[in-house]
Symmetry: C2
Subunit: 322 residues, 2 copies
């Protein structure tokens, strides 16, 4: 174990040892910290556009980013099944290091555990992260008002379709790639441009539909979205038709949903389009019925002019998508 | 998943939802933070004296405590195998809540993932924690000098023997109980009593021997310990004889090793004995040969007057002990 850590984990993360506990000097003037955790059990471990390593780093960076925090430090915990190929482990570690570098976050402590063959599934990774929240930022469902607009930062469904296609041996041409990416740069641009952001969330497991439903329930408002405004690539649309899936429910790993004041919405979406991760940003709907704070409904106006209630996925979600 | 979280996880940890990301108001004047992570894969999940839940909370509290931090906040990530009994999950969650309460730490964010049957082993838990390090505390191997004393805070080997006995269906009379416990109270007492503490570490996986060897290697000093000073209960001694194990290499979850200045050692050990978790505290050895910072050897003076080199465990450690 010591050898494994010394030869592979520590160099990947530029540590002398894989620290149990990191002591971090802290910038003064930080009054609010964000603290988050996520375990990653994605299957398969490698998929078009990414692997469990960059997914685990980006996912935690994004959980911090959408609460308005500047991501600072990460820990990484590995549960390795006996017999897991060392070559695969090295690939994952190098993806993590690269993703951390891209996001500008430091992996400061880690842990490895090995379980016997048949008691795991290759590799599970937990990442936890801390970030500093600027004093002037408070995102939350209580900020939401009737008339607020819903912005999505990019195309829906790429991550889920990429994982499912790899899992099922399907090849699309061109291939659908996971959108796994760190959103902190985009969020920084957004919060600098306007104070009109009420809350943000990244639509991972359960997709855009589940995230909107959560926002509606937590705010007690209703949300109406327009099907014709939802950004979906041709590849994802085709794959969803083939597999009988709804892109609204498919997991994403590099987009966010923002609820913003009506006056800021269009110009903010315009600004976002100048960022590589925001180039397909769109205003997709608006908030209604906040007066009674007893709503929580999400309605989709369909292409053919009908309306459909959008609920959380009942029954089985796509398992092990992240 | 939403229902599971709402009905079981959130109430256990007193959260409305199981937060993805917690935003924490921070006390001013904190300049150093400690940040740590650990995944727990102990098998079996329930053992005499504890279960994976309190183990996961106490383990992370202890990793923070031994770097001198006051533990503040915890996150918890759960990887649950499909079919894991809900009753067991509830027991684990309630143990975690109780352990957090005892340690005075708050669980502020969490995550649950479910893996298919046969791809996990019941339940794995990751906990990550942050703590505040007082400005006047810097623990580290560079502080260590020739003549420093080694203190152990309690009896060796209880956790490992408790888990092994449960795993192998052995019953001791009286039973050997895991020592899982939060060390932050004891550490607070120690750091208030003296500034003479050079570094601390909790001897978990690999036991006291491995921890001493790590301290020796990191400091470049040598360490000599006296076998007749090592505190081991009769139960652990008997079990080790029976199972062919050496208590020096057995995992502990509620004791610490401290390296302290020679003038402070005896009085500090005396103070520690007034604390329930320090009642068997003992000075077990001393540091030698720091002059060249090229040592790293640990030597045991045996009961019969011989000397034995103490090395890290070569080959297979006891698997899944934490």
């Amino acid at each position: 174990m010591h050898q494994l850590v010394r030869e592979h984990f520590s160099p990947a993360f530029d540590m002398k040892e894989l620290n149990d506990s990191a002591v971090i000097d802290f910038v003064e003037g930080i009054h609010k910290l964000a603290f988050t955790t996520d375990s990653y059990v994605v299957s398969p471990l490698f998929f078009p556009g990414g692997n469990i390593g960059d997914l685990a780093v980006n996912g935690t960076v994004n959980d911090l980013s959408v609460v308005g925090a500047r991501p600072l430090y990460l820990t990484a915990g590995f549960i390795i099944e006996e017999g897991f190929p060392l070559g695969d482990l090295k690939l994952v570690l190098s993806s993590m290091a690269q993703a951390a570098h891209t996001a500008g976050i430091r992996i400061v402590a880690g842990d490895t555990k090995v379980v016997d063959r048949g008691k795991g599934d290759g590799l599970f990774i937990n990442t936890s992260g801390i970030g500093a929240v600027p004093d002037n930022i408070y995102f939350g469902p209580r900020n939401i008002r009737t008339g607020d607009r819903i912005i999505i930062s990019g195309l829906m469904g790429n991550h889920g379709v990429a994982v499912l296609s790899e899992r099922n041996g399907l090849a699309f041409n061109p291939p659908v790639l996971s959108d796994t990416a760190p959103l902190n740069g985009l969020v920084k641009l957004m919060t600098r441009f306007t104070g009109g952001i009420k809350m943000m969330r990244d639509p991972t497991r359960g997709g855009v539909a589940t995230t909107l439903k959560e926002i509606a329930m937590e705010s007690g408002c209703c949300i109406t979205i327009m099907e014709n405004m939802l950004p979906v690539s041709g590849g994802v649309k085709g794959a969803c038709d083939l597999l009988g899936l709804d892109p609204l429910y498919i997991a994403n790993e590099g987009i966010l949903i923002a609820v913003v004041s009506p006056d800021a919405a269009d110009s903010l979406a315009g600004e976002m389009r100048a960022h590589p991760l925001g180039k397909d940003a769109a205003v997709i709907g608006e908030v209604t019925g906040c007066e009674e704070r007893s709503g929580g409904m999400v309605v989709l106006k369909t292409l053919i002019g009908g309306t459909r209630i959008v609920d959380m996925l009942a029954g089985e979600q796509l398992p092990r998508i992240c």
